[in-house]
Symmetry: C2
Subunit: 420 residues, 2 copies
């Protein structure tokens, strides 16, 4: 009995915009009958993307222009990135972050995180515990030593990055963690011994204790009843989860509105905010549906195509609209702005040569167009008031050469007093 | 990294048999150099089957001979049943058991349960809570009233049947219970509201309180990580489960040894006994694998075939051997001795006309042949001792016209003193 798919636009207005009444004063008196300029500075909704490609750029390690370096990590593509996104996910895969025990890549990643934060982004670390891409040296340790190393790693990194990264995918893919059988690894070993819920408790306790202000996510790709059962067990055990992360790589085809809404509904009933943490929609051919583990799909080339790009643009718009139409969703992280990332898939909004696809333009026309208030001149009334409808987020108002910021935090009517 | 499939026979010997040394005395002195007859009376392993077909026979409601009544419920087929099985599952589907609120089918089912118990069987009730086949009148109630009715139903039935039925599938298919969407029903409604773990706690508490001696099962068809996650959550929440029930209807083909052992291993790691609660292996064509809900497969006729019967016999032997080779498995319930039960499938060991298939003979030659000690004459030594190897279970020894029973409870060496 799936519910019908509603028109998303009225719901987006309802859940994502405020009808603002600004009362502007200067020196304590209403600024009556004056021109003011109101402009949106940031979305409250987290339009996210991975920022992996820009680690060299942020650290000044490479040539920065297209033609001199791979386009994906260039300054030009970075400009495209910042024009669309306000939320960056950075890689903390243990095996890459600390390939040699005791030598974590902290400085370089901290520079990258600050680079994003300085440009107005929320930054998230991904992930603190996962069986895939974990440190190879764990397998030399006993289970007790692995658990200790895992806890210490979490304490160290959440402490080192606190204030710059205050959001973490604490643990990834716990549903299959203890039964993962592609290769031996230390994390599967301890999870199988201790059980999923004690594992989740251990890693969340470590992160919470080291950075009490952090937003902590449980993240999984398994959208079946298994993840529901895991979540219910974790919540019943009294473990505090701040956000439920839902992966949604769609290399095998766009989910469509009905499945997307049904999925959100199933996970929204726990009353926790939902982040779509890892979304991919390809602009080339679709991966055959018989592939179970996406990593098993290895092909020499997976090209973007004109028809694929048109389809992707349509699906991207529909998907973002669907997510914003549901009040439980607070963030969406796209899994790579440029083509050629994970699986070599044409999943980006930008081609390998750095040129934007139709999906880029389509999404930008929402995020910085239909859903955005550009600098707009308004005239205050006799009581110093202006009214406008705007998407939730951060705004600025300028009059007489002075600028003040304000935020619209909740949908519905908002009364805001600003003093210039 | 699935483990290799071992030869089951040595493992069956190891886990299922004892090397017994009987010391026989009469009037306090060893019965030296005497002929005695030792015979097995019952298996410890629960070789189970549903007993649904025999409710009319047990209640004297029908003609009882083949030719006068459907063969499946006839006295002749009942004789075949009791020659193979020692464990009966009886139907307590709420919608059938109490179609009109307040008028449960208690007397008739109690007569049936006693009929099986009087013939030496352990009897189990199935199930006390399930969203499918539940009482239709629940939908007229509020959620609080449904929960109250569910608890009262469990207390009533576990109390009414205590001493005859002391084993219950307390709750069935909780993994999908709150998201079941084929049709509206009261149990899905309350499970969705309260969550899976509180639902399990509620029904187990009710059953445990009403019959503290009962063996209580959690039962599911979902063999994926979802059931693992549910179990881990339930155990972590401190709910006492006595036995994990694994369904294994194989209308879509025999699982094979590797999958069966891997499944047992995954669920055995919780340290609870495992019952295979619902097994079907067909002797006709295999249901296409694209069918997700087996109930969706509706065909006018599903015949048993000679080739299918040969395959079934082979698979049945392999499957029972695999289960007995793993020490965690304590019971196996076959889902119907006769053809034409659920889905009209040729899943029985007996054809619709009441004649046994090769699978019946093959299984009987294990249960009452290779794995069984028929009345066997032995001669005691000078100290009154005889030695034999036997499958765990109940035995009798007869000498000089007197008979005494004894049991072999644990695998390995067993010293037993019997006084004739």
């Amino acid at each position: 009995m799936p519910r019908p798919v509603p028109d998303p636009d009225p719901l987006i207005r309802k859940h994502r915009t405020a009808g603002a009444t600004l009362t502007v004063t200067a020196n304590g008196t209403p600024l009556a009958d004056q021109e003011v300029v109101v402009a949106q500075r940031r979305h409250k909704f987290l339009f996210g993307c991975i920022g992996f490609d820009f680690i060299p750029l942020a650290n000044g390690e490479t040539a920065t222009d297209v033609g001199e370096a791979p386009a994906a990590g260039s300054r030009q593509v970075a400009d495209l990135w910042f024009d669309l996104f306000n939320f960056a996910t950075l890689p903390f895969y243990w095996g890459q972050f600390e390939p040699v025990r005791g030598r974590p890549d902290t400085e370089r990643m901290l520079t990258t995180a600050r680079w994003f934060a300085d440009r107005g982004c929320v930054v998230k670390g991904h992930p603190l515990a996962w069986h895939t891409e974990t440190a190879g040296w764990l397998t030399d340790l006993s289970n007790a030593e692995i658990a200790k190393a895992q806890v210490e790693r979490i304490r160290r990194d959440t402490t080192d990055f606190a204030g710059v990264i205050d959001m973490w995918d604490v643990v990834n893919e716990v549903v299959i963690m203890p039964i993962f059988d592609k290769y031996g690894n230390g994390i599967t070993r301890i999870c199988r011994e201790m059980g999923r819920i004690p594992m989740v408790r251990m890693v969340f306790d470590a992160a919470r204790e080291a950075n009490p202000r952090a937003t902590l996510l449980l993240n999984d790709f398994d959208m079946s009843a298994a993840y529901e059962c895991l979540i219910e067990g974790v919540l019943e055990a009294g473990i505090k989860i701040d956000v439920l992360g839902l992966q949604s790589h769609m290399h095998q085809g766009y989910w469509g509105e009905e499945k997307t809404l049904a999925t959100i509904d199933r996970f929204a009933r726990y009353g926790l905010p939902i982040h779509f943490t890892e979304t991919t929609i390809v602009s080339g051919h679709i991966m055959p549906e018989e592939i179970v583990d996406l990593n098993d799909y290895q092909i020499p080339e997976w090209p973007t195509t004109p028809e694929g790009e048109a389809r992707q643009a349509d699906e991207v718009v529909r998907h973002y609209k669907t997510l914003l139409s549901h009040p439980a969703v607070e963030a969406m992280t796209y899994w790579g702005l440029s083509d050629g990332g994970w699986l070599g898939a044409p999943g980006g909004f930008v081609r390998a040569d750095g040129t934007p696809k139709p999906s880029y333009d389509a999404l930008r026309s929402l995020v910085k167009g239909e859903w955005w208030l550009p600098p707009t001149t308004m005239v205050t009334d006799a009581d110093g008031r202006v009214r406008f409808d705007g998407f939730l987020g951060e705004y600025e108002i300028t009059a007489g050469g002075r600028t003040v910021t304000f935020t619209l935090d909740e949908p519905g009517d908002a009364k805001v007093a600003v003093s210039l």
